[in-house]
């Protein structure tokens, strides 16, 4: 379980997170929605310790991230995977080298494996995300959707417990978005992964979410199921999910 308690974060004097409190339950898909630039990715990065809170704390299974020493943090991070918005594949490596990277560098140390064994593992994992026969390509030779799927393969290759998705369907066509949604659901149901998805793709939210949270003004203004989200009276939430121009959320805010 990931617990976020009274999290505050500001950049250059601008408050981004202003007392976020949130619990991510194990085995569920929790979606975080909100306007572009409202701090969703910042919140996600706090969960894995890529950002340090100004105030408040993030705890994973009761252990506070900020209190962990380097070794404990390394152990904690090995239970996580993070799907970055642009994939964040390493340009200098081929697709298969990217996919097996978390195994080769498990725990932050380089491990020697048989090359054929690694290629086999990469091919199997790529097959899971529907990306067979691209093992020897470089990331620059892949389309946006292919990069995301390869990044997803890299994210699941070491069997993590938690997987954090940063806008997994942004910039993809509807069919590819549906493919990614299905993969998120499959990973959750079949491998039992706890997933946190940051997105503003409402179709994706309705399809994959067990829990939905809305971030607005640096705070969580809604937390509940998809059906509750649709019935909730919160004008900010309703304006956002109904894609309205007029309402409390102002253009450019």
């Amino acid at each position: 379980m990931i617990e976020i308690r009274s999290l505050h974060k500001s950049f250059n004097g601008k408050d981004v997170l202003n007392g976020v409190t949130l619990s991510i339950e194990d085995g569920k898909i929790t979606t975080i929605i909100g306007q572009s630039g409202c701090g969703k990715s910042v919140l996600l990065k706090h969960m894995v310790g890529l950002h340090e809170p100004d105030k408040g704390e993030v705890a994973v299974n009761g252990d506070i991230l900020a209190d962990m020493d380097e070794e404990a943090r390394r152990r904690c991070r090995s239970r996580f995977s993070y799907l970055f918005q642009g994939g964040a594949l390493f340009d200098s490596l081929t697709v298969w080298e990217n996919v097996v990277f978390p195994l080769v560098w498990e725990g932050g140390h380089h491990h020697h494996y048989d090359k054929k064994e690694l290629q086999q593992k990469a091919a199997e994992t790529l097959e899971l995300v529907g990306m067979a026969h691209v093992e020897s390509l470089k990331p620059s030779e892949l389309s946006g959707g292919m990069k995301k799927r390869v990044a997803l393969a890299r994210a699941i290759v070491h069997n993590p417990e938690y997987i954090l998705y940063d806008e997994p369907t942004t910039g993809l066509d509807p069919v590819m978005s549906a493919v990614i949604d299905d993969l998120i659901l499959t990973l959750n149901k079949e491998l039992g992964l706890t997933s946190v998805v940051v997105t503003h793709d409402m179709q994706s939210v309705s399809r994959v979410s067990d829990e939905v949270c809305m971030l607005y003004g640096g705070r969580i203004v809604f937390n509940g199921s998809v059906s509750r989200m649709k019935q909730d009276k919160n004008p900010v939430l309703q304006q956002f999910i109904q894609r309205k121009n007029d309402g409390p959320i102002l253009f450019g805010q």
Binding site: R74, R77, Y82, D91
Partner: protein, 256 residues
């Protein structure tokens, strides 16, 4: 007036912050050497720093030797001392010009390349991806380059020295009709091992400046493609300045 005071104060604070952050970065980079980077992982950096830099080093060093020789022969003729050109060129090149010229060229080639690569990795979240996978980005990205620079840049410097001396012989041999053995004898008479050694130690220090400055600016890049451009420019400018400053202190240390 108050505005100007505030601006000066802000500039000083920014400079102090940068110096502090750079010092911490250098400290963390050297502490990240262990576990030692695997050799195959270093191979690309060794190749990039040495083989890929060779053509420009040969070109610049050869012209440096040729032009120096021309200038010296012209001046030394006034005193009838043109036969000493080999010794003078060798001492100047091994002590000073070889290491500094090679370092300046490599600052333009290697520092900018490292800053651009790491900067692009930063803005495309590849460095964050390394951290999430518990890989120390300094151990993975900076330590292999520091080691590759430490091995390869002194070697390139020796090579640059040899090419410059050969270039100078082309001119001296042609104008003064000196035999190559007499030319080498002249060099051996004037050139001490301390001249070569001081040049090598200088190039070792310069190699670390070249890599660490490029890595620093790349590592802290922000602001998209524009940020990568700024990081690249800053890396070359700062590395060049630091090379000259370090050269002054090292020269004072060896020959002061």
């Amino acid at each position: 007036m108050i505005y100007h005071q505030a601006m000066v104060k802000k500039s000083l604070l920014d400079a102090a912050e940068n110096v502090g952050r750079f010092s911490l970065f250098v400290n963390r980079s050297y502490r990240s050497f262990f576990p030692f980077p695997p050799f195959p992982h270093m191979f690309k950096d060794l190749y990039e720093i040495s083989v890929r830099s060779m053509p420009i080093i040969i070109l610049v060093s050869a012209f440096m030797g040729i032009i120096m020789s021309y200038q010296l022969i012209y001046e030394l003729r006034t005193f009838g001392a043109e036969m000493y050109v080999g010794g003078i060129v060798a001492v100047a090149v091994c002590r000073e010009l070889g290491p500094v010229f090679a370092a300046m060229i490599l600052a333009g080639r290697i520092s900018s390349g490292i800053a651009a690569e790491l900067g692009t990795m930063r803005i495309s979240e590849q460095i964050d991806a390394l951290e999430v996978m518990s890989v120390n980005p300094l151990n993975y990205l900076v330590a292999p380059r520091l080691l590759a620079g430490l091995v390869m840049i002194p070697m390139l410097t020796v090579f640059a020295d040899a090419v410059a001396i050969a270039g100078s012989f082309l001119v001296a041999g042609n104008i003064l009709h000196i035999h190559i053995l007499k030319y080498i004898d002249n060099i051996r008479f004037y050139l001490d091992s301390v001249d070569i050694l001081s040049g090598l130690i200088k190039s070792m220090v310069f190699s670390q400046i070249i890599v660490v400055v490029g890595s620093y600016f790349g590592f802290f890049t922000k602001g998209g493609a524009e940020g990568v451009g700024k990081a690249t420019t800053n890396a070359v400018v700062v590395a060049s300045i630091l090379i000259l400053v370090a050269d002054y202190f090292l020269t004072a240390l060896f020959f002061g």
